[in-house]
């Protein structure tokens, strides 16, 4: 989990690094689901135990493609998920994040399970800005990304629901003509965000093209799992 000490302030990005290890001694095919419903299932529970957010469970009788990567014996498959795209953690309190690896068969049996606790403190603008800065810095300075790649850092910023993230989204938009960053600005819905979108859309360069593309996208969530880093 990031932050590693399990404490954040309201609205900060929360990421989970999930490692799946093949201890069966055999080469396997790992059924991962698809972008509608993954076999890696997440739940966020409030202190009361109530489930406040959850990812979709696979539907076994639905036609469609299913990811089937090879999973050699002893291999470790790692993925980072943006939990703050699933739940925004705006309310202070104690939360539990549960992750289950489900087997894609009748009953969806649980192959493995883990849980982690996050304590959310009241909103702190300086802390949120520092977190955005930390996520964005390697992209802006061309320095080492560590084990958090450019896609996950970008999606973690897309999930922030405060104008504090605007300068970082603006950098993505101007540096890389990132249409999804501009869509994230639209989702904020604030006057400041809208002014920035309008400014970018008025440009006659690739950034302007990206802004026009973002204006065509629906701001309604299209794919929860994509937002989470699928």
């Amino acid at each position: 989990m990031e932050p590693k000490d399990g404490v954040i302030t309201a609205g900060e990005p929360v990421l989970a690094r999930v490692e799946i290890v093949n201890e069966s001694g055999e080469d396997l095919t790992l059924m991962t689901g698809n972008s509608s419903a993954a076999t890696t299932y997440f739940e966020v529970r409030a202190e009361s135990g109530k489930v406040v957010a959850a990812t979709p469970r696979p539907q076994l009788n639905e036609s469609g493609i299913q990811g089937a990567p090879r999973f050699p014996a002893g291999a470790i498959r790692t993925n980072v998920w943006i939990i703050s795209a699933l739940y925004d953690f705006q309310q202070p309190g104690l939360y539990q994040i549960l992750v289950q690896q489900l087997e894609r068969t009748e009953g969806l049996p649980i192959m493995a399970e883990a849980a982690s606790t996050v304590r959310v403190l009241p909103f702190d603008a300086a802390k949120l800005k520092a977190r955005c800065e930390e996520l964005s810095k390697p992209m802006r300075e061309g320095t080492s990304y560590g084990d958090l790649d450019v896609s996950k850092r970008s999606k973690a910023l897309l999930a922030v629901r405060h104008d504090i993230v605007l300068p970082y989204l603006e950098w993505l938009a101007k540096e890389w003509a990132d249409a999804y960053a501009i869509r994230a600005m639209r989702r904020l819905g604030t006057d400041q965000a809208q002014r920035l979108v309008n400014e970018l859309a008025a440009r006659e360069d690739r950034v302007g093209v990206a802004a026009q593309r973002a204006l065509q996208m629906s701001i309604e969530r299209q794919s929860l799992l994509w937002d989470m880093g699928w």
């Binding site: 698809n34 090879r70 061309g142 990304y145 790649d149 970008s154 249409a179 093209v209 996208m217």
Partner: protein, 342 residues
């Protein structure tokens, strides 16, 4: 009296000795000049001639692949004043070389990162973190060694070269896997496909498809689609009763390298009748560009640059054969999967 005279002789002798030393050694100290001076007879010393970097890796250059550069040797002469006050050119033997990578934006190059290297070469190992479909080049900041004599340091020079376009890996060799499709006993029709990355074969390179989504998009007869839901039992003569998202989209990460495609029976009314439901399926892949190079595209995002891998027609039928109702799924080019209606 004698003492006085002897003293004077001592003084005169000391004066004579000191005067002869100043005349003989006027260029005792080492002296270097970095550049040309007309008064330095015989010297052609000049600024550093920095050898250009060259890209020596595979082409095309892909994200996730190392970009090695070699570097041509540097050359520099400094002018050395010898103790006899004559001059000589001396080749500089030691240089420092600091490498960086620059990206072209609108024809102007700006530094995007520094890399480790020396005056023989360097390797850019972080290509996965930089925007593809852009031109990059190496820049080397070359300096001679400091302290090779007073006034002997040349000014540092920058030299660039090894220009390459960085490409995003894409999908290739999309194939139906051996021993597929499989018509399952419960009526499910299973397909399995494999693919590779165009930057190289094997799982090492499939892992480079982190900014790729592979998806299916299935569309149905539009006349029977209302508010995005296709009515499979769309007339009195049709006996299916399943609502299908139209279009239907599903996606998997390019890094998976393989996928199943499960085709299930549609729900059937209690009184079966001859029925047909046709879907047009296309498998596609896309990279993040141009919507956002660093993301595997959202499978719902039709504005991404989707490339076709394969197209099929999927036909689901209810037929009366051999005195019973049968359910049949047909996909272009494959033997149909037929089962009795439960």
């Amino acid at each position: 009296m004698r003492l006085g005279i002897a003293f004077r002789w001592g003084l005169i002798a000391a004066l004579i000795v000191a005067t002869r030393t100043a005349v003989i050694c006027t260029c005792c100290e080492d002296h270097w000049t970095a550049g040309y001076r007309s008064a330095h007879y015989g010297c052609t010393a000049g600024p550093i001639s920095a050898g250009a970097p060259n890209y020596i890796g595979s082409t095309p250059l892909y994200r996730h692949h190392d970009a090695p550069f070699s570097k041509n040797p540097n050359y520099d002469e400094d002018c050395h004043r010898k103790t006899d006050c004559s001059y000589e050119d001396v080749e500089e033997s030691l240089f420092t070389c600091d490498w960086s990578i620059e990206k072209s934006t609108g024809g102007l190059f700006t530094e995007v990162t520094t890399i480790s290297g020396n005056c023989s070469g360097a390797t850019w190992t972080t290509t996965e973190s930089f925007e593809p479909n852009a031109v990059y080049r190496a820049k080397v900041h070359v300096n001679d060694t400091p302290g090779d004599g007073p006034y002997g340091d040349d000014g540092a020079v920058d030299v660039t070269g090894g220009m390459q376009t960085l490409y995003a890996p894409g999908v290739t060799n999309f194939t139906t896997s051996a021993n597929y499709p499989v018509c399952q006993s419960d009526g499910r029709f299973d397909f399995h496909y494999d693919w590779e990355a165009d930057c190289g074969s094997g799982s090492t390179h499939t892992a480079h498809l982190d900014a790729v989504t592979v998806r299916e998009k299935v569309t149905y007869e539009s006349a029977y689609t209302f508010f995005g839901i296709h009515d499979s039992g769309h007339s009195a003569t049709q006996c299916f009763q399943t609502g299908i998202n139209d279009p239907t989209r599903n996606g998997v990460p390019g890094t998976d390298g393989a996928m199943y495609d499960y085709k299930y029976m549609l729900a059937v009314k209690d009184d079966p009748c001859e029925s047909t439901c046709v879907g047009n399926q296309v498998y596609q892949w896309a990279t993040g560009s141009p919507t956002g190079w660093q993301y595997a595209p959202d499978y719902n995002d039709d504005t991404a640059n989707w490339q076709t891998l394969a197209t099929y027609t999927i036909t689901r039928e209810l037929v009366y054969e051999d005195s019973s109702w049968k359910y049949r799924i047909t996909k272009t080019g494959y033997t149909p999967c037929t089962h009795s209606v439960p």
